[in-house]
């Protein structure tokens, strides 16, 4: 009985951790910067890329300042 209970608690904790990690990963991967140019071209840079990471961090700071 005790081992079944322990298994259930472990399963619940593991599920919660999994959900948390999945949500965090999903949130991170959505971050990007879309650049639109005068000639009609679009460049989308993933937030994970080094060149975009700084720009996305800058954008996050601006959003924070705007919402203070």
């Amino acid at each position: 009985m005790g081992s079944r209970r322990l298994f259930a608690i472990g399963l619940a904790v593991g599920s919660l951790l999994g959900i948390g990690l999945y949500a965090r990963r999903g949130r991170g991967s959505n971050e990007r910067i879309d650049l639109y140019f005068a000639d009609g071209s679009l460049t989308s840079i993933d937030g994970g890329a080094s060149e975009a990471a700084r720009l996305v961090a800058q954008a996050r700071d601006i959003l924070r300042a705007a919402r203070q």
């Binding site: 005068a38 720009l55 705007a66």
Partner: protein, 139 residues
């Protein structure tokens, strides 16, 4: 130039997705904003720096950008000598936001329509003009 505040008020009226907006010149000077002065200046300076840095990442002339973050999205749009920086929540309709911001910038940059010239008063001694009807020459 049309009052930037009027253009901004109209924008906030039609767009339910935009939370805050700052209109500023290419020199970073704030034209109109939904934020208090100090914060508007800070946002304008940072958005200008972000736009310039992002412009260096591409080959051509950057006209607008959207930065998607976990906290929401930041839009920066340029139209002539004016720029707008707007914040929204998560997953906004980007096309609509860009359209509304560009329309707002165009409106803010519009020159006011010239006032109609006052009609010249008739001179004191001038004869009043009379119109002839077609029938007046006959019979």
């Amino acid at each position: 130039m049309t009052d930037g505040k009027t253009a901004l008020a109209e924008l906030m009226e039609i767009s339910s997705q935009i939370e805050t907006v700052v209109l500023f010149g290419a020199d970073g000077e704030v034209v109109a904003s939904t934020l208090p002065d100090q914060r508007a200046k800070q946002v304008a300076a940072s958005a200008k720096a972000l736009f310039e840095e992002a412009g260096r990442a591409g080959m051509g002339e950057l006209t607008h950008l959207e930065a998607v973050t976990g906290d929401g999205s930041l839009f920066v749009v340029r139209e002539g000598d004016l720029l707008a920086a707007a914040s929204t929540g998560s997953e906004p309709t980007a096309g609509l936001i860009f359209y509304d911001l560009k329309a707002c910038l165009r409106k803010a940059a519009e020159k006011p329509a010239p006032k109609p010239k006052p009609r010249a008063k008739p001179k004191a001694g001038a004869k009043p003009k009379t119109t002839r009807s077609k029938d007046s020459g006959k019979s």
